[in-house]
Symmetry: C2
Subunit: 344 residues, 2 copies
């Protein structure tokens, strides 16, 4: 998009976007006149608005109504006109209060999601940390029956995954010892990504006589690793979305879409930028075509790990929400780094 808009057009566009974000009603030339810093007649504004509409930056719900920003209008606003507002103290306090000292990643993220949803009055998405270089920190095997054990895996990012595993032989102390020997020497400290099925097979081959009894356990560990390597998506405050008139129509579809995390995951993981804003149809999912997303990555120990973001109507208060999301991702990243990497 060329940046060739006259100063006045820019001011008008910005004012329309901001007013519309506030009110949700189409903006007419008269009411706009009162808000604009310069003194021009409504007729002039109408002319400018007509040109902005011709450029595709504004649209009209119907002939006799005011204008609302088009998707490109929002885009232009965000890229060129918006100046981010600092996070106000009240929000900052709320965040501090909700998150406190942090804790394990899952709690932390659930708190972060809740507070973000609450603060923005939108739905909040969050994914658990899952970087390339995540390692296995600990593996535990807890017998819970004569032939069943619970396997627990803890990653270097603080994610805990567990699974029940049934074996054909009864679980004895020597079996446990052999399991711990193998896992401690071969698996703990390895990257999650390295523990795929083929690696397990070569590992199993080297076990000799023990292979038979250990195999199902190791297979389960491999599954756990696979599980842990993949980010979990959390969603908070979906009900907030029901409050927006413009989403009401496809509320059901939208909720249904959000429920099954697959496509959302695809969208999130395609985000390579620091803060990513997707407006309406800019994403490829029909169900989200009336919605905007603001997504931001958080880093743990210097590595890109997970994502936090909000989903709401296109009429989001970007100037406020973008800084909010960024602030929260920074905070989460910092807290997680401190919890998981402090080696002072």
């Amino acid at each position: 998009m060329e940046n060739e808009l006259s100063e006045r057009k820019q001011k008008i566009l910005a004012a329309i976007v901001e007013q519309y974000i506030r009110s949700g009603e189409p903006i007419g030339s008269k009411s706009l006149m009162e808000v604009l810093p310069m003194k021009v007649s409504s007729a002039t504004i109408r002319n400018e608005m007509a040109e902005l509409a011709a450029l595709g930056l504004l649209e009209q719900p119907h002939t006799s109504a005011g204008r609302i920003p088009s998707h490109s209008g929002y885009r232009y606003y965000i890229d060129h006109l918006m100046h981010a507002r600092e996070l106000d103290d009240d929000s900052r306090r709320k965040i501090e209060a909700a998150i406190g000292e942090g804790g394990d990643p899952e709690h932390l993220l659930s708190k972060a999601g809740e507070v973000l949803a609450d603060l923005t009055n939108c739905a909040a998405v969050s994914t658990t940390p899952a970087g390339e270089s995540t390692k296995i920190r600990r593996i535990e095997m807890v017998p819970v029956g004569s032939r069943t054990a619970m396997l627990v895996l803890l990653t270097s990012t603080g994610i805990l995954k567990s699974r029940i595993c049934r074996v054909d032989t009864s679980i004895t102390v020597p079996l446990l010892e052999r399991f711990y020997n193998v896992t401690a020497s071969q698996l703990v400290g390895r990257a999650l990504a390295d523990v795929h099925t083929t690696a397990m097979q070569t590992l199993a081959a080297s076990l000799g006589a023990d292979a038979f009894s250990l195999l199902p356990l190791l297979a389960a560990v491999a599954e756990l690793a696979r599980d842990a390597a993949q980010a979990d998506i959390r969603l908070d405050g979906q009900s907030n979305l029901l409050g927006y008139r413009e989403l009401e129509e496809n509320a059901y579809e939208l909720m249904e879409f959000l429920r099954n995390g697959e496509p959302l995951n695809a969208l999130i993981s395609s985000n390579k930028e620091d803060v990513h804003v997707l407006i309406g149809k800019e994403n490829r999912f029909r169900q989200l075509s009336n919605s905007s997303l603001i997504l931001a990555r958080y880093d743990v120990g210097g590595e890109e790990s997970g994502t936090l973001g909000v989903i709401g109507p296109t009429r989001l208060d970007y100037a406020k929400l973008i800084p909010s999301v960024r602030y929260l991702t920074d905070l989460v990243g910092r807290l997680l780094t401190r919890s998981m990497h402090d080696e002072e």
Copy 2:
């Protein structure tokens, strides 16, 4: 409610309830005539309907409309008229497919919730197992930094809880050993309910010199125990509720109510029966006054442990859903019992 309705009134009431459950539209005397097994004129049916209405079993949305069952009408139907339909093979297959062999409680319940929501086209609630006699099965302490450790607690019901704990001294091997000594001898095997703060204090008092360094860790363990003792509520398929016209009006309120689990928890834990049906205003929450709940307990190892259920409009297909919920609770109970208590 007296059981003094004439046979014919019973048939009529049953037919109205069943038709209304199907269509969601008020039922008129004419259309009812075609459905009823006996041959009577619409006028007769009208007379009977008027009497049923006088008894409070039916109500009229407005004068010139058909009748719909009142809450007491549903109640009478469920208690006296309904004959539960066997679970059809298709549903049974779906359940088997979704749940498979089971696994840990959390996965199992999430699967159960999903399939229940899917099967019933309602929202499904589920709580993790948390009985009186749940015990601590294992406690692990995993250093994740020089002064932080992750504490992990596994209960006899298979619930895993974790927490990050920071200590003031650096974490050394001797500290770990002392921690494991204390926990293994004093805490593992104890009931969750016994590990309250006061018990921890007397325990701490007996530690002598170690108290200082161990105290924060033990306090964290106590918190974990408290956490684990309390059932977590899961909710699935909330979006299903958006499909019902009669819920649309207060959809936002309803979702908001479900989101914050507190009151729902109160409702669930007050359920002492095998299968409990709450119709409309029978519960004390305004937000649920247009909804019905079907709740059922599942037992693990012979003890009442958790609850599964559905939430939907009052117009639920009770004859189908009650058996479905019961079947699923039985299955979940059986699988969890097998995973957690098999000592053959």
